[in-house]
Symmetry: C2
Subunit: 200 residues, 2 copies
């Protein structure tokens, strides 16, 4: 900060960012909300993930910094504001996902004062790399949340897109690795989903 004008400009950038990220409420995911009435947006999904991080903290990988995971959950989808949500079971859409999201990261984190922009961008990059305990935990939650949504909407997007059980099991591996206490539930749920014809 360089005096009063610096402080004022800093605040203006923070408020501009706050206004800009409202657009995440218009980014629709494939997943339906719990009553199946509409698609979920990435803002409410991010909220659900952050609460899940709190709820399941005792099952997280050893040494997880919970507050950092929550911050990561809150910002992990901001790059979708320009790039859109990429359906995880669509291989073509995933080809240029990285490039689209990187361009959005440049723009959106650039709205903030540079120290803050760098901090939030680092959280997003850490999430994408999926290597730290916090990123592994956040990624596992990011798989668990739509799993629960699909289980409570009679198969939801699995059924709509004809997804195979093996695809789901593979997609859920981060849960196996980061929250092993949950894995028996995942296997039982997918067994039930297969019996009901929700997955192929």
């Amino acid at each position: 900060m360089t005096g009063d004008r610096g402080g004022e400009e800093r605040l203006e950038r923070q408020l501009a960012f706050m206004v800009e990220i409202d657009r995440l409420k218009r980014i629709l995911r494939q997943t339906l909300i719990g009553d199946g009435s509409r698609r979920e947006n990435s803002a409410e999904h991010s909220w659900h993930l952050a609460v899940a991080a709190l709820l399941l903290a005792e099952h997280a990988p050893a040494g997880v910094d919970l507050a950092r995971t929550v911050r990561m959950a809150l910002v992990h989808d901001l790059v979708e504001i320009d790039a859109g949500d990429t359906f995880c079971y669509d291989p073509n859409a995933n080809l240029d996902k990285e490039e689209r999201e990187r361009l959005c990261a440049d723009r959106i984190f650039g709205i903030l004062p540079s120290d803050q922009g760098a901090e939030l961008r680092e959280l997003w990059e850490e999430f994408e790399r999926g290597e730290t305990p916090e990123a592994r935990y956040a990624n596992a939650l990011d798989r668990l949340q739509p799993l629960l949504q699909n289980l409570h909407t009679d198969g939801g997007t699995w059924r709509m897109h004809g997804v195979r059980r093996e695809q789901v099991l593979q997609r859920m591996q981060p849960i196996h690795d980061a929250i092993p206490a949950l894995w028996p539930m995942v296997e039982r749920a997918l067994q039930r989903a297969a019996e009901r014809g929700w997955v192929k």
Copy 2:
């Protein structure tokens, strides 16, 4: 926890809570989202608030525990799942708000293992009392977020409900008290809103 079955039941309660709170995505507030296309729901509002807590941390009251404020923002509206959102400028609806929300708190936090239910309920009660630095900061953000939404939707709910400038200024007092660095912006914005006829 009392052995394996206790651990399993604990996990089941945590997942049941995670499924239950999905309903917050269907609780509509008066406030519109940034492009004015629809009303905002309380889940995406809670996300926006939690991110705002991160963004504006340097302007928060001295001694704020930021991680606690974020947790508070994430759970502060859960009681609306049964009680609905109560429009702040509707005096009649506010008469029984407390009782409706208390009943919902009993039910919803009761889904969780008792230690976790008590912890989240305490966060909500602390927010409602508005006394700690974290609660004062979270309450101020809870006023700021719809202020920004209204400013970017040509007066939004102020105009729709014929709200007076003095009512808004009074409603915004928590910003004055907890985030004084923002107050000049609030005054300027309401001056502009009055000139444009967005507030009476």
